[in-house]
Symmetry: C2
Subunit: 325 residues, 2 copies
Amino acid sequence: MNTQFETLLSEVNRKISDLEFESSAKNLYDPISYTLDLGGKRIRPVLTLMSNLMFGGTNEQAISAALAIEIFHNFTLLHDDVMDHAEIRRGKPTVHKKWNENSAILSGDAMLIVAYQHLSKTNPDKLPLVLQVFSQTALEVCEGQQFDMEFETRSDVTASEYLEMIRLKTAVLLGCALKTGAIIGGADENQQEAIYKFGELIGLAFQLKDDLLDVYGDVSKFGKNIGGDIVSNKKTYLLIQALHHANAHQKEALNTWIKSVDFDRDVKIKAVTEIYNQIGVKQIAETLMTEYYNEALNYLKKLGLETEKTAPLLNLAEKLMYREF
Amino acid sequence: MNTQFETLLSEVNRKISDLEFESSAKNLYDPISYTLDLGGKRIRPVLTLMSNLMFGGTNEQAISAALAIEIFHNFTLLHDDVMDHAEIRRGKPTVHKKWNENSAILSGDAMLIVAYQHLSKTNPDKLPLVLQVFSQTALEVCEGQQFDMEFETRSDVTASEYLEMIRLKTAVLLGCALKTGAIIGGADENQQEAIYKFGELIGLAFQLKDDLLDVYGDVSKFGKNIGGDIVSNKKTYLLIQALHHANAHQKEALNTWIKSVDFDRDVKIKAVTEIYNQIGVKQIAETLMTEYYNEALNYLKKLGLETEKTAPLLNLAEKLMYREF
């Protein structure tokens, strides 16, 4: 028998593959279909549907909003890839490589509009609030991307700046996905806020998990991508904390690796990981991650729902929290 | 005493200058304020307010939607300038020149979201329809830009393809601006459709007017920009019709000018204008423009409103139609 997660995931995937764009402007819409067909975990739309069901809604009421959030998420990936000059997304060429940069900009714009088209199908009773939450979140995601870009050229990013950036860039959209489902499902205001906070906090925990997996993931499962953040000097929570807590000797070694241009990939990963281990950044990150996660669970309890109602969401959060890749 | 147009224009300009973005992501929002502060004729939001008043609405009910449409329009200019590598917009550096390309992409995205935020303040009764019209129009504008980009590398663009492109890229937004005001003002469905068609048709007429002014405008009023389309080989209605109706000799001369890299600006303008005159493309364009305009006026009559109700809109259309710059 399928779990609720699996059932909702198939529903989302079926709806996404059913999306069609009837227009003679083929070159505008093909990159949208391509982007959506690249796949992904589809966590956000599933969260919307789960939250909606949890508060007594039906799938039909929430599916358009769920799709809107997934389309929005994929739009951000499309434009982020242009801004980051990324060549590969989920093993395939990015839109601006497969088509060109102008196509990627314009099709991304259209994709954001398509997201709003789906969101607008929400029951008129709930529509103004759903739109308000979505637009505010969408702007916050842009703010997160803005900070992320600014951090690239800064060497003094603090841990709290980093956490605020990932809150905006990734966590708020999980909160929005859940809150949207809650609004549509008929949750009261306190419940809407509590499920939003739950989403935001698991979002923060998941991002720290991502940062940790890049360095400490199981090579056999995470594959050759292990150490990618180290190789590219990505300012993760681990690197920021390492630089913050390093002694003079460790700081010099880290900065030498950051500045080095010609290096053996594996040697750099091993050396930087060794410094991380000396400083104990794994523990620092895991402690914060666990704090976020536990705080999230407290918000879930605050909903005042029976355990079996919140069980699917809790299971999904656990699965993502204890994943090894 | 101010005309209705002047009163509404000040209202729009005041509301636009009152827009503020409270966020620490200064570099995300500054380009939005900059773009909106560049000015422009503000035709679209004024059309929304005029249409709304014409059907019995109040300014307060329609102002957010009017702002949304103006913000959307300016968003399209911002992203179009990136795609066209334009350096100047309304006499000032474009956003991607003043900041950088990534800023222009991301701030444009945020601007589109801000447009939806304003649109979402529309009365919940009218909101679903207003959103539907806006999103469909917004996608059509993207389709128009897509075709415009594709036409740049094609030498076989037909007049009907060109007209469809300008319909999508510019005319539908005028229709949308008017229809949105009509919906909010309480117009019935037939009136909504008629005012939309009026807007679309005057939009087509105005674009043909633009094409004509570039070649046949009053130099003393249109200034040094006269002939800009000819210099850049822009595929306007005039050039497309000229190539279509040219005899072998004229076609060869036109193509020689199009291909020439090293030329005196004034000599090229004079030579191409001379060929246009031989072929009579001015008359061809003016005939079609007048047809569109007269058809538009028929739709205005179909509204079944007293003459004094439609007078402000008619005056504005006439002013734009018979402008010399």
